[in-house]
């Protein structure tokens, strides 16, 4: 999809505190730790949370329930109440029933319409049955993927955490790609598209499995759309890339950070001093303004 140099050129790391301003002619701001502005009339806002890892108990964060609650408190305090919330996967750490129950209870307390996609931690051992029973999309296809419309924006929730095979890892698969092609067919090119998936839909660092090899095909179907925003989780940090009309964004976790690509022996949980933890966890507020597009604001829990 792009050369490594293009990728580096277009990426900025949350850890470096870079403010992303203009890319491909589309102004977008990332306010690390900043506050949200109210969306002008006619639009709506929604929030993204990700990687809550309920059930995690190692040193990197002994209290993921508490930090998820903190994230929801942050959302409740936003100046404009979001129309809905999306959770981009790894709701639980080990796909255990009690972890799903705890996550469900905490998230429900936010009283927000919430749309989920599973992470690989949510589908261990049962191909996601427990996950889909609780968090499956309304009118989802048999494979679990689904779409919905809100305020003029078309949301597509994709699944790239099932059917892993050795080495190849995350794929969307033929069935899902066919479904996607059909799902987008009736949409006008001016419809803003927001794509949700857990694992990044572009190649960030294949050595750590931060890649979806067949995502290119999905974007071939989206070429004609003027605005495509891709919201992913999985890597527990903000990484962004703009390629043509497509903006790719990964989100912070509400549970624990992970190292930047290639900076550690493995992508395992990164331990930071306890008083720094909240500054590497976060939420994302997204404002949609008709004609102007989507404005993303990443905010830490600090």
């Amino acid at each position: 999809m792009s050369t490594r140099r293009d990728l580096l050129k277009c990426m900025s790391w949350a850890g470096a505190g870079i403010v992303w301003s203009v890319a491909g002619g589309v102004p977008r701001a990332v306010n690390l730790g900043g506050s949200a502005l109210a969306a002008p009339a006619g639009g709506f806002s929604f929030v993204q949370i990700s990687d809550s890892h309920i059930g995690f108990k190692a040193d990197a964060n002994p209290d993921p329930n508490g930090t998820l609650q903190l994230a929801l408190d942050k959302i409740a305090a936003l100046p404009q109440k979001p129309a809905m919330m999306v959770h981009t996967g790894d709701v639980t750490h080990l796909s255990k029933p009690e972890q799903f129950d705890t996550a469900d209870q905490i998230i429900k307390s936010a009283k927000l319409d919430t749309h989920y996609v599973p992470g690989e931690h949510d589908v261990i051992g049962d191909d996601g049955k427990m996950f889909f029973d609780r968090f499956g999309g309304k009118a989802a296809a048999p494979g679990g993927w689904y779409s919905f419309d809100q305020g003029g924006v078309h949301f597509v929730a994709l699944i790239n955490v099932l059917g892993f095979s050795p080495q190849t890892g995350a794929t969307l698969g033929k069935d899902q790609l066919e479904w996607l092609e059909g799902d987008l067919k009736g949409k006008t090119a001016s419809t803003p598209i927001v794509v949700l998936a857990h694992i990044p839909l572009w190649s960030i660092y294949p050595q750590w499995g931060w890649v979806t090899p067949d995502a290119d095909q999905a974007f071939a179907y989206m070429k004609r759309f003027g605005s495509v925003t891709v919201l992913n989780g999985h890597i527990h940090q903000v990484v962004q890339k703009v390629e043509g009309q497509v903006t790719f964004q990964t989100a912070m976790s509400t549970a624990f950070p992970q190292p930047e690509a290639g900076t550690a022996p493995s992508p395992g949980p990164m331990k930071v001093p306890a008083d720094k933890l909240k500054s590497v966890l976060g939420i994302r507020d997204v404002d949609y303004v008709p004609m102007a597009g989507l404005k993303l604001s990443d905010q830490t829990l600090a």
């Binding site: 796909s95 261990i124 050795p166 050595q207 493995s266 992508p267 395992g268």
Partner: protein, 122 residues
Amino acid sequence: MLQMMSRRALPLAAAAALALSVPAFAEDASQPTQVAATAPSTVTIDNFAFAPAILAIAPGTKVTWANKDEEPHTVTSADGGLMFKSPALDTDDKFSFTFDKPGTYKYFCSIHPHMVGTIVVK
């Protein structure tokens, strides 16, 4: 540590084969070696890797995987878990499987599929 011990006990040819990629090892595996009797039957999972990545055992050996990572992993046979499939192994969890028949058995972590390993039974 375990890998070093097993290598020291191996004939040179087998030790060299262990250092090569999996397909290369499969070719060399047709030659008789004394790998089976001396190899360890424990695989450690550390830093998102199986160690040793290739383990040779005698038929009937029980292999135990122990997860030392803070991240959960699984041990899943490459046929998609039909032959063996562990539940999610949290830190310090273990999983065992006994290999009765000779053969080359590849496996991976179904959560992190770039983590792969091989058990050679002969």
